[in-house]
Symmetry: C2
């Protein structure tokens, strides 16, 4: 047992994802050795996030303003919406620099066992967004970029059912297959099966 | 790039030991999803450590009071002092439940290349402690528990030279050898060599 305040900090840190008691202890003693400068900086950054970060009223992404940086950017293509589970997925896709449309954050994936049904996700907001496009603007493609696991696949299937009757709207799903830089012999059967069934014609 | 405050928090978190940009990002988004309760708790714990934790005037351990929990405990054996590099080493030794004496924190190990000489460590304080024992009390053993690496070994050698002329004082060093639960064939030569030269007589 550490002195009270140190143990409290270790307990709080150990609750964070990716940190166990050992990692939390290491960070606590690092902060203790830092003569409070680092603690002050960390507290300021935490306070700033707590007080200044909200969620984009359009797409549900984290935002420092009413609209997130992407929804507020007039150069982004409004005809394409990429649907993701969490804000962090947006940043993963942004890093690819392959997508210049908008996003929509569901806030999770369908998982009935954990009590997450369609009403717990931001699906209604997505349908409203499709129905309320300003005059002359139209969404032509919804890219379903939920995770390639059971919950993400179920969510994709549900979304497809909701969206398939919108006129002129194409619904696509991220490709599954072998990860780039990977090794065919180490791919699991499910992934290799997807890579086979989704094979592309080269010539 | 994330929205300003989030990027700031990720940058601050990524500076902590054991956390890279990915881990920092994961924690930042975890905190964002927590509706501020967890951020508040974490900030309170950080503030508490910043404001209420000092260093023990006797041994240099972290303390919530003038004396740390161990120096303030009259049941601990005052005749044995275990010398460690950092406060966290104290907790590692406490977990063994094998030592009931006091500690002395050096605040590091000799490392001339990084500008850490004897004056940067709390060696003078250790000598003063030995010289200023209350009447009738005497330190009979100093256990040097610095790390078993170059800096720790150099520090142990230096301490031995400083302490060897104290009358009636025995200076000991933690044993080096094979880690328990380990496998002999995977031990490095240095460790195995130490295990051999430090072998114990069984019968």
């Amino acid at each position: 047992m550490y002195e009270g305040p140190i143990q409290d900090l270790i307990d709080q840190l150990a609750k964070l994802p990716g940190l166990g008691p050992k990692g939390a202890q290491r960070i606590a003693f690092h902060l203790l050795a830092g003569e409070n400068v680092e603690i002050d900086r960390l507290m300021a950054a935490l306070g700033h996030v707590r007080d200044d970060v909200t969620f984009c009223s359009e797409c549900g992404n984290v935002a420092a303003d009413k609209l997130c940086r992407i929804c507020g950017d007039a150069r982004r293509d409004v005809t394409k919406i990429c649907v993701v589970e969490e804000p962090k997925d947006i940043y993963a896709i942004e890093r690819t620099k392959e997508f210049d449309g908008r996003y929509h954050v569901l806030g999770g994936a369908l998982d009935p066992l954990s009590g997450i049904g369609p009403d717990q996700l931001r699906i209604r907001e997505l349908l409203r967004r499709l129905g309320e496009m300003p005059d002359g603007q139209e969404v032509s493609e919804i890219i379903v970029a939920t995770d390639p696991n059971t919950e993400g696949e179920a969510t994709a299937t549900y979304l497809l059912r909701m969206l398939k009757d919108f006129p002129g709207l194409s619904v696509t799903r991220l490709a599954s297959g072998l990860p780039m830089g990977g090794d065919l012999e180490f791919a699991d059967e499910l992934t290799l099966g997807r890579a086979l069934s989704g094979r592309r014609v080269l010539v």
